[in-house]
């Protein structure tokens, strides 16, 4: 999934997020149909906004692990669909969790 995101999606992504990023998850009406775009993402919604989760604590590892990749890296917001405010809080919580050894900095498989 990381390879897809970097190579063929890079030129395709430059138009999508350019129009989509200011409007957030609800603005993805550009690639509405098959325009030769393989990686048309359906309208992803922010999990925290819909489920009304207010507090993202560094202590609930299960919640945080859903936003961390296999190697331990934080997944970018365009892949998870999280909104900006929650992504910032999530990042802060993940970094706190890493500091207290609840999440790894870099995981080897």
């Amino acid at each position: 999934m990381a390879d897809e995101a970097t190579t063929p999606a890079a030129p395709a992504r430059s138009e999508g997020p350019g129009g989509g990023r200011p409007s957030g998850p609800g603005g993805r009406s550009g690639p509405g149909g098959p325009g030769g775009r393989k990686f048309f993402r359906r309208k992803k919604v922010c999990k925290f906004c819909t489920e009304k989760i207010d507090a993202i604590s560094y202590r609930d590892v299960r919640l945080l692990q859903g936003f961390v990749a296999e190697r331990g890296k934080i997944v970018p917001r365009r892949l998870t669909g999280v909104c900006t405010t929650h992504q910032r809080r999530l990042t802060k919580a993940i970094k706190q969790a890493r500091n207290i050894a609840l999440l790894p900095f870099a995981a080897k498989f």
């Binding site: 507090a55 560094y58 500091n99 207290i100 050894a101």
Partner: protein, 144 residues
């Protein structure tokens, strides 16, 4: 100016439980002696660490929720740093977060009330009003 803090620290897995309790007791003493209050102490138990810390693979997690001021926290952290069984600690300031959460909850509570009152009252009142007079009218008609 008492602020709310969460202090989480990890104790080496090879220390006995009594030692852990003694350590927690001494830390609580430090807090109360310095003018703070311990809200709660939680022992989260032995967990596997995500990476090697001082050559240990697992550790005993303990969470303290404290009301204290900054200088007391500095003292507490100094003690944690110096104490041998503690291998890692983190202090997180929670009062701003609490304020924000309380605000959200308050907004949610008022939102519920506002949406409940007009939704219930107008349908309830007009529904009750025609229903009640209608019922009484039919009752009186039936009786008469």
């Amino acid at each position: 100016m008492q602020r709310l803090y969460e202090v989480m620290f990890i104790v080496r897995p090879d220390v006995a439980d009594e030692e852990v309790d003694k350590l927690i007791a001494s830390l609580e003493q430090t807090v109360t002696g310095g003018g703070g209050t311990v809200r709660s102490t939680e022992k989260l138990g032995k967990r596997k660490l995500a990476y090697l810390v001082r050559k240990f693979n697992d550790g005993n997690y303990i969470l303290l929720t404290i009301d204290a001021d900054g200088s007391l926290i500095a003292e507490l952290e100094r003690r944690l740093r110096v104490s041998e069984p503690v291998i890692k600690f983190i202090t997180v300031r929670m009062d701003e977060e609490e304020k924000r959460l309380a605000k959200i909850r308050a907004i949610r509570a008022t939102k519920k009330k506002v949406s409940a009152i007009p939704a219930e009252a107008p349908p309830a009142e007009p529904a009750a009003a025609p229903a009640a007079p209608a019922a009484t009218e039919t009752a009186t008609q039936a009786s008469a």
